[in-house]
Symmetry: C3
Subunit: 141 residues, 3 copies
Amino acid sequence: MMIEQSTRLFRFLTNGPAFLDISRDVVAWVRDCDAREVLLTLHVKHTSCSLTIQENADPDVQRDLLTALDGFAPRDARYRHNSEGPDDMPAHIRAMLTATSLSIPVIGGEVQLGTWQGIYLIEHRDAPHTREIAAHLSFER
Amino acid sequence: MMIEQSTRLFRFLTNGPAFLDISRDVVAWVRDCDAREVLLTLHVKHTSCSLTIQENADPDVQRDLLTALDGFAPRDARYRHNSEGPDDMPAHIRAMLTATSLSIPVIGGEVQLGTWQGIYLIEHRDAPHTREIAAHLSFER
Amino acid sequence: MMIEQSTRLFRFLTNGPAFLDISRDVVAWVRDCDAREVLLTLHVKHTSCSLTIQENADPDVQRDLLTALDGFAPRDARYRHNSEGPDDMPAHIRAMLTATSLSIPVIGGEVQLGTWQGIYLIEHRDAPHTREIAAHLSFER
């Protein structure tokens, strides 16, 4: 038995504040690696977008989550840091409240997402962005 | 020296909104594995409960944390997603604000929890649930 | 090829509510380990300070984030747990909303922080504290 480590950079295009489901790409990569008992880790390389694992059934859940994030960090509050536009500081706050990195065990070759769980990249900025996610996998052969 | 990986599914019964201390079960599993220099990772397979590491001394801390979570995601706010009851959308928001996965180094066989740290499963729904947590451990022999 | 695991305890002195940039110490340790394809994990061993990855360019961002955290958990709210001073329960809430552990892939020897990302220890208490962070690295030789 040998343990190997795989790493990969994912790139995703975003188009304004929204939840982007990246589960399919991530799960496909784990399958391609033929990994069985493994730890999968994702880390988003930005501070104005973030990661979360959330319900993948009713799209209204994502709308309500965006509304909640908007309430936690309103665009019209007074921020010291406002040189990058009114959507920037709220984006940092929303990123701080959600996740920058996620780790999910893989058991018997299956990424251990629950039935109703999806992995989401949450874009917090208004303008389109290319977002990078660094992924890591350690596995036995 | 060889590195092995262990995975396990934990199941916990919950009974309404509360902090359930799962530290004892998790630490016991790490001890059973006889792991020394290790990374321990936990991932909860649901989106209406979550994980946190919090103070384990004064139970009032947990009550105050529940009150705070209630304030962040009130049950009586207007949500689009309300088909699963008034406790469901607040549960998703509370899960988003806390953690879905946690990783804790093990050094010299000791899970590196601080003296006042406990690992908690936070139930956000009203009804009793069986909750699954996927655990991963990589260790040297 | 062989995989080894390194662990380390970092200690940092804090001096009141602030963001302490610990990126340099962490990255230097990874370099000293001569690690290439790796997973780096940090876990803070306390419940009244926490970790976050945030913008490292404009110090005003950190000031705005502290203001936001203050708004989420005001010092003058009524808490049951108040025996350790008015800054204690807000500290626990702020810790719950941010991160206790972070995992970042290392690819080709480079910790995968984005250009504008720094790793921060956020102190939430008023008094100076010595804070411990347990670190884990698995790497191939």
